[in-house]
């Protein structure tokens, strides 16, 4: 048993060797537990201290890693199991925690169960999210929020023919952020604003399940309440992002409560027998939101005139959504499985938004904006899986989807409902070959043809080819794969085309209980070419002119590698080392296409060129040691380095390079 457990632990450690310096998710000791009053009790606590030091852009470090300093309960677990399965109030308690005590990613889970009577599951998670978003909003959409998520699920009679479910979930997001607003008209300036994010969603669930005459009926009713009460304000008078523009803002207050509920029903019916299986699922969600936006701003217009503006918007938005699935499976012989699924999805978005605005006390004519978007999709797919021999199987499938989109964007278009339909035909073919037991080969392809896709980047004529080969023999595994996704969405190639190719190889070897190694390499290639239209001032002089012949070409070639090794010394010391490397070489060039300051006749070309190929590297070596002090106590320490480097001078002149050293030391007590 010990050998089995050690092998499992070794395997887990080997594969998880690339996880960041974080609590040891795998048990570094093997707690046997103690038997107390008919229960077996096992516990472990990993208490430790984290440290880090960052050079370069700390904001980028916090966006991508975010581990800080200080003591933590890095992980803990408690399991209590009744030895005979006949405990008093419970038969099982299982508690696991991770990163408690100010880690950016914290979680806890609890399962409490009494056989045949009840089961209770709790999940709690907290995520500290920090992102200045420098390259996409110049830092003006900075966020430093914390999200708490919790789920409670209670099941009565979990093993019975009749079950009852009760559930509650909560999701809150709070914290400071920045946002922007453009004032006072469409040609005005942009101003950063402070937003105190306060969002919460609460979900209540009630349901039941009954098993009768071979059928199982599952019914769930839920209510989702959502609130967003994020006040927005200007912290100090601002001249805006563009000082040449005279627009200025001296004060702004916005109150924007947005509340609503989404009651839903889900009904599911199942039946499975030797020759056939069937299931159906139907859901209906009635989303409703009511909102008010009350905004008052004072400042100066773009001609420098004092301006006061109040905007009031109120109304409601509705989104009823209905979906159904019906699946039949037939097993006419042991070698053949046929499955057919029909799905229908109908979603409608309808809203009314009463908008009024007063500028310097002069109101505009209030208007009631109306919009409607309706999407109805019907799809039917059939799959056949035929196992011809023990070593060869083939599968084939066909799917047809039809989608109708109806759209109306204002009351002025009340009679102008625009309707469009498009269809998608896809076919797939796959082969499974096992020439010998240790070797498996998977090949499959999917080809899709759509007419009238809604967007240029949507899938139209697409082809996917995938292949995978794996050799697995006892403690050694070697696998390779290749995947190609092509999509062309245009009458001419100038519109939009994307090519994605992925290749990879990975291997693991666990020759001994005390040694394991695994490694992987992947190459992810993507190139897209899309036709774009825009206006610009050619050569920086003269009027703004349309440019209708330009293209957005994006090329990314990302090489990633992972290496992890673990070994133990006399079952006393466990050492694991790992290395992760991400290298985007862009289109292969070693110098930027146009140096900063280069004068081009079309200045947009420079901005496009700097974004269409953006080489960077992100590497992370790490090491971890765990020393067994005695049967119940281990000492652990870990170190991980992070290095982020943009090869060119950074997007929009912003460099976010950083290097960070992080580590921890902990004591794990398990018994």
């Amino acid at each position: 048993m010990r050998a089995v457990l050690l092998t499992a632990v070794s395997l887990a450690a080997a594969i998880s060797g690339q996880t960041p310096v974080a609590p040891t998710t795998e048990a570094v000791g093997i707690p046997r537990g103690e038997n107390v009053s008919g229960y077996n009790v096992r516990q472990s606590f990993e208490l430790g201290e984290r440290w880090h030091s960052v050079g370069g852009d700390e904001g980028m470090y916090r966006s991508t890693v975010n581990y800080g300093n200080g003591p933590r309960l890095l992980s803990s677990s408690l399991s209590v199991n009744s030895l005979e399965g006949h405990g008093g109030l419970f038969d099982q308690i299982q508690i696991n925690t991770l990163g408690l005590g100010n880690d950016p990613y914290e979680s806890a889970s609890l399962r409490l169960e009494k056989n045949r009577l009840y089961r209770y599951d709790l999940g709690w998670r907290s995520d500290a999210y920090y992102n200045p978003g420098l390259t996409i909003a110049g830092g003006e959409h900075f966020m430093d929020t914390v999200r708490h998520v919790q789920d409670h699920d209670f099941t009565l009679f979990p093993q019975g023919s009749f079950k009852l479910f009760l559930g509650y979930s909560s999701n809150t997001q709070t914290g400071p952020a920045l946002t922007t607003i453009q004032q006072f008209n469409a040609t005005g300036d942009e101003f950063p604003l402070f937003a105190n994010i306060r969002r919460s969603q609460r979900e209540y669930r009630l349901g039941g399940e009954i098993r009768l005459m071979g059928f199982r009926l599952n019914v769930l009713h839920g209510w989702v309440d959502f609130k967003d009460d994020t006040p927005v304000s200007l912290t100090s008078p601002s001249a805006g992002n563009n000082p040449a523009d005279l627009t200025a803002l001296t004060s702004l207050q916005r109150s924007e409560p947005y509340h609503g509920t989404s009651p839903y029903w889900r009904v599911a019916l199942f039946r499975e027998s030797k020759l056939w299986a069937a299931n159906g699922r139907f859901t209906y969600v009635a989303g409703h939101r009511a909102f008010v936006d009350d905004e008052t701003a004072f400042g100066f217009s773009r001609v420098g005139a004092p301006t006061g503006q109040q905007v009031i918007t109120l109304g409601n938005a509705e989104r009823p959504a209905l979906a159904g699935n019906l699946t039949f499976s037939l097993f006419p012989s042991a070698k053949l499985t046929l499955t057919n699924q029909t799905s229908i999805d109908h979603i409608r978005m309808v809203g009314n938004s009463f908008y009024t605005q007063a500028t310097n006390g002069i109101p505009i004519t209030p208007f009631n904006a109306f919009t409607f978007l309706g999407i109805r999709t019907i799809a039917n797919s059939t799959d056949a899986d035929l196992r011809l021999t023990k070593w060869f199987a083939v599968r084939a499938g066909y799917q047809y989807s039809t989608r109708r989109i109806r759209s109306m964007e204002s009351t002025a278009l009340a009679n102008g409902l625009i309707e469009q339909e498009n269809g998608l035909n896809t076919g797939l073919l796959g082969l499974r070959i096992h020439p010998v037991k240790a070797l498996s080969i998977l090949l499959d392809t999917e080809i899709g043809r759509a007419d009238k896709p809604i967007y240029p980047v949507s899938q139209r004529n697409y082809e996917t080819y995938r292949g995978r080969i794996e050799y697995k023999q006892k403690s050694f595994r070697l696998a390779g794969y290749s995947r190609t996704d092509y999509n062309t969405n245009s009458a001419s190639l100038a519109n939009f085309a994307s090519h994605s190719r992925q290749y990879g190889i990975d291997s693991s070897w666990i020759p001994k209980n005390w040694f394991s190694i695994d490694a992987s390499y992947n190459k992810l290639h993507l190139d897209t070419l899309g036709a774009i239209n825009y206006f610009t001032q050619i050569a920086g002089v003269g009027p703004v002119q349309p440019v209708t012949t330009d293209q957005s070409l994006y090329i990314s070639n990302i090489h990633t590698g992972n290496l992890a090794a673990r070994f133990s010394i006399r079952q006393r010391v466990d050492v694991s080392v790992g290395y992760s490397h991400v290298q985007d070489v862009g289109d292969g060039r070693s110098v930027i296409l146009f140096a900063r300051g280069t004068t081009l006749s079309n200045p947009v070309t420079f901005a496009l060129a700097s974004a269409q190929s953006f080489p960077l590297s992100y590497l992370s070596p790490q090491g971890r040691i765990s020393v067994r002090i005695n049967e119940k106590l281990r000492w652990n320490a870990g170190y991980q380095h992070y290095g982020y480097h943009e090869d060119f001078s950074g997007l929009q002149g912003i460099s976010q390079n950083y290097r960070a050293h992080t580590g921890y030391s902990s004591v794990l007590w398990s018994f």
Binding site: M1, A8, E84, L134, T180, I454, Y455, T536, P546, V582
Partner: protein, 322 residues
Amino acid sequence: MRYSWGMLVGGLRGGLGLLSFAFIAAVFFLASPAGLLAADYVGSNVCRTCHPNVYSTFFRNPHYKSIASGREKPENTGCESCHGPGQDHVAAGGGKATIPVAFSQLAPEKVVDACLRCHSQTVSRANIRRSEHTQRDVVCTNCHSIHSSPAPKFLLARQQTDLCYGCHSSVRAQFSMPFKHRVNEGFIQCTDCHNPHGAFSATWNMAARPRMVDQAVGNEEPCLKCHVDKRGPFVFEHAAVRVDGCETCHSPHGSTNARLLKRPVVFTLCLECHNGFANFGRRLDGPPSPSPTHNLADPRYQNCTTCHVRIHGSNSNSFFFR
């Protein structure tokens, strides 16, 4: 011999009775695994004699409930509920060949059949027969370890991320990117967004094959389970989000770009759709391209979302200004 109606009716009754009996017998025969008799079952305590290593920790196993209950039929109790009746195995003194259901010897589809004997007919496993995993011979025992699971829940053979990365090394590569969902850090798991047992057809993107993407309870993209503020409904929806889904702009696993965007800067992402090409968009006249007031050479117009703040949807402004 004279034939009468009575004889005919009697004969028919007899025939029907015989048929009925045969049918009922057949049903009972087929209903019991492999037509085996209860006497073939020896009980888990007998297994314990030779397999103490398995049995000694079996009280922690969810399958132990079948033993603890004491009410289940022999074919649904303990070791033999999965491995079949053990009488021959015991009589032979062991050996894999005599175990009626030895999972290491089973063809993949038989493994699925064996487990679904009890674990079918749930919402989460409704699509297991058509799932990409099943169709590629990735079956229950590839991910679940019934006897020696190191994971606290679901008898997983390894920690969940390690299991998934074991085959999906390209996904592992994506989660190694600078910007990514915090899977490696343990904050979220693959199953927060995916159902490894198969998923229903997507309610976005032409109901494309589901790629095991699980749906939020309202049949929406799983992204909205956490990103609740993006859910709406909004009076002014950014139609791309609803019609084709979040992946229109974002790479959900990981990206080298901030906010998991598909492009390093925003304006290229926006312009690739908003190019005014006819036949596309809500109005079929092309997603509108920028107006002449947008001189794209000016950096202020290269960060589209600085003005179009509510890009996921707005209640006040059809241009997503507020």
